[in-house]
């Protein structure tokens, strides 16, 4: 009886936000738009307590406590109160594809392994920032149940508190109001060649470096950490392109860098609110040095990282979904067209992705208990490694994910860091 009342009270549904819409359409048996955040503590994880913490935490996040529903015209999210999200032992292939019916309908998976708590998120749910709040709140709750006293704040929410409406609003709709129509055409970018892995496999290569040292190095070049790492990544792909032919078309090498829109628009949403910029170089112009690539990225970012350009970018996406002619197309036709668009034009202007969540902070009481945070992007549908970055204290973790056997990009990247005098520790899920 009580459960029924509770369900009635909370049973709600909401539309997918603008960025979320592409992922269910592009979902296949072999690929889902996933990403993983994990935290490694200093002690072994107790799954029973983690389960308890999860039950308490997910109630606090109405935009996570949901399942996917199918309407005639669009997908929608529907409250999934009746089912329970179970913690599971970790797997070798993080970001494995998701099916709507599996996992009790939840679009996130919570794993534990030794000292690690890991969560695979379906990208429709949230972006890295929202997911990090969830992970930190879950970890804090877990530690509280373990007997430690962890205060809220620093991105940790109080699980007893009622969720604020702002936390699950669609900020795209709220802020997209640019008068600009149409977007500059981006040229086709180079995609590297590689030998595919088996359907279920995913290659993860983790590099652990010192944040201070990287910071210093970036500072020497008057760049931010993201810009500097993006330049090294661009350099790695440039070296790969050299092997395949520098002047062979397409000659543009572009790195896609997700941008957290919360830094430019006042939003507290825990759902998707990010877009991306694609800086890069064109090798048709000649050979580039690392320094020149870094400059190209920096200038591009400086020119485009402001609320006007970003607003224009998201407005183009939002007006598309507001178009009546698009809205009245039945879902199955939309799915077909959107998945086709995702697989072709989606990957057209980018060679790779580097996503930096930034520096994770926790309350001082938690610092002793947490060893490091990790961020893993789901693999690309095309054969290219993606790079995900997150820092905590003095540990900066670089995670390469791909569906290919070759590790040339990763090797160039990490050996470049070593040549700059930065020690790198490598971990992997590969045998």
């Amino acid at each position: 009886m009580l459960r029924k009342i509770e369900e009635k009270k909370y049973r709600h549904w909401f539309k997918l936000d603008n960025a979320a819409k592409i992922y269910p359409a592009a979902n296949t048996r072999r690929w889902s738009g996933m990403f993983r955040l994990s935290v490694t503590l200093n002690e072994k994880i107790d799954p029973v307590i983690l389960q308890e913490a999860l039950v308490a935490t997910i109630k606090r996040f109405p935009s996570f406590n949901i399942r996917m529903g199918k309407g005639i015209f669009w997908y929608y999210f529907e409250s999934n109160i009746r089912k329970r999200l179970q913690v599971k032992p970790d797997i070798n292939n993080p970001c494995a594809p998701i099916r709507w019916k599996d996992n009790n309908g939840f679009l996130l998976r919570v794993f534990y392994y030794d000292k690690r708590i890991a969560i695979d998120f379906f990208h429709s749910l949230t972006d890295g920032t929202g997911a990090m709040v969830f992970l930190k709140t879950l970890t804090a709750r877990y530690l509280t149940l373990k007997g430690y006293e962890i205060p809220t704040g620093e991105g940790i929410l109080d699980v007893e508190e009622k969720p604020d409406k702002e936390e699950y609003e669609d900020s795209f709709v709220k802020y997209a109001n640019s008068r600009q129509r149409g977007r500059p055409k981006e040229p086709k970018a180079y995609h590297m060649k590689g030998t595919g892995l088996d359907d279920l496999d995913i290659s993860i290569i983790t590099g652990i470096v010192s944040l201070e040292k990287i910071k210093q190095l970036a500072k020497e070049h008057h760049a931010t950490i993201t810009e500097y790492l993006a330049a090294i990544l661009l350099y790695s792909f440039y070296k790969q392109k050299e092997k395949e032919g520098l002047y062979k078309k397409p000659t543009r090498i572009a790195v896609s860098i997700p941008v957290n829109l919360r830094n430019y628009f006042k939003s507290n949403t825990k759902r998707n609110f990010s877009t991306f910029l694609n800086p890069g170089i064109d090798t048709i112009l000649g050979e580039y040095t690392m320094e020149e690539m870094l400059r190209q990225i920096q200038y591009f970012m400086k020119a485009n990282l402001n609320d006007k350009v970003l607003n224009a970018m998201m407005t183009q996406n939002v007006i598309l979904e507001r178009n009546l002619f698009i809205r009245i197309v039945p879902l199955f036709i939309k799915n077909f067209i959107m998945s086709l668009a995702h697989d072709t034009i989606g990957y057209r202007p980018i060679t790779t992705v580097i996503s930096n969540i930034g520096i994770v902070t926790v309350p001082p009481e938690m610092k002793e208990l947490v060893n490091r945070f990790e961020f893993i992007l789901g693999p690309a549908k095309i054969r290219t490694p993606y790079l995900a970055v997150v820092s905590y204290e003095d540990t900066l973790v670089l995670n390469f994910t791909s569906k290919i056997q070759e590790t040339d990009i990763e090797r160039t990247f990490f050996t470049y860091l070593i040549k700059q005098g930065i020690p790198v520790k490598i971990e992997s899920n590969r045998e």
Binding site: D90, N92, R99, D201, I204, T407, I426, S428
Partner: protein, 230 residues
């Protein structure tokens, strides 16, 4: 702490080799917990068995309807054969590969041959055309089936390149033409005097010779790609 001698990176204690360059770790270290477990998440697959049963049911509807109509309105004249044979062929082509889990091309071809022959036999029975069935349809069916069987077997076992596969298929085309020409002649004149299949063979054989020569000559291939690329 082991290091990779080639890349200079520090490796995990559980690592047996450097993932970046595959260089083996020489150090003997006590076993430690690796960064990831071995178990993989299996994704539940769409149950295609149910789907094939559903399609079979749908296919059964017109068959049953036609059977009833046939029995009530035109007793004695059995045109039901056509519908039934056609459905069987459709089922074999599209639904059968869905119903089995593993790809089995050889079995599929054999069953296709059986159902196609059966379909033709039913038509022959309905139109009392056993002569053309035995003289034309059956030999052509057998030839096509056995050639397909052979080609697939060769492709699976020997793995010839694209060029060789094309040449083998072209040889099969010639044989089919010869057989068709032959059986039609025999059907009409009760005597085999090949009329048009020479021409086909004569025009295809040089192509085959060219392809075979090309397949064995990497340099020539490279030269051709260089000269002819678009």
């Amino acid at each position: 702490m082991p290091y990779c001698v080639k890349c200079g990176v520090e490796l995990d204690n559980s690592a047996k080799k450097c993932v970046l360059c595959n260089t083996k770790v020489m150090m003997e270290l006590p076993d430690e917990i690796p960064p990831y477990p071995k178990e993989k998440l299996e994704i539940s697959q769409l149950n295609r068995g149910y789907f094939s049963i559903l399609l079979t049911m749908i296919l059964l509807v017109p068959n049953l309807a036609c059977l009833v109509i046939n029995l009530i309105y035109t007793p004695g004249v059995y045109w039901m054969y056509y519908v039934f044979g056609g459905s069987l062929l459709l089922w074999m082509i599209f639904i059968f590969p869905m119903a089995i889990k593993k790809k089995r091309p050889l079995l599929h071809i054999f069953l296709l041959f059986l159902s196609a022959t059966l379909y033709l036999l039913l038509i022959a029975l309905a139109l009392s055309g056993m002569r053309w069935f035995l003289l034309i349809a059956l030999p052509i069916c057998i030839t096509v089936m056995s050639l397909l069987y052979l080609i697939i077997l060769i492709v699976i076992k020997k793995k010839p390149g694209k060029l060789k596969t094309v040449s083998i298929s072209l040889i099969a085309v010639i044989i089919i033409c010869l057989v068709t020409d032959g059986v039609i002649d025999y059907y009409i004149y009760s005597d085999i005097q090949l009329s048009w299949s020479y021409i086909v063979a004569a025009s295809i054989i040089p192509v085959i010779i060219g392809l075979v020569l090309l397949a064995g000559n990497k340099k020539l291939q490279n030269e051709l790609i260089k000269k002819l690329h678009i």
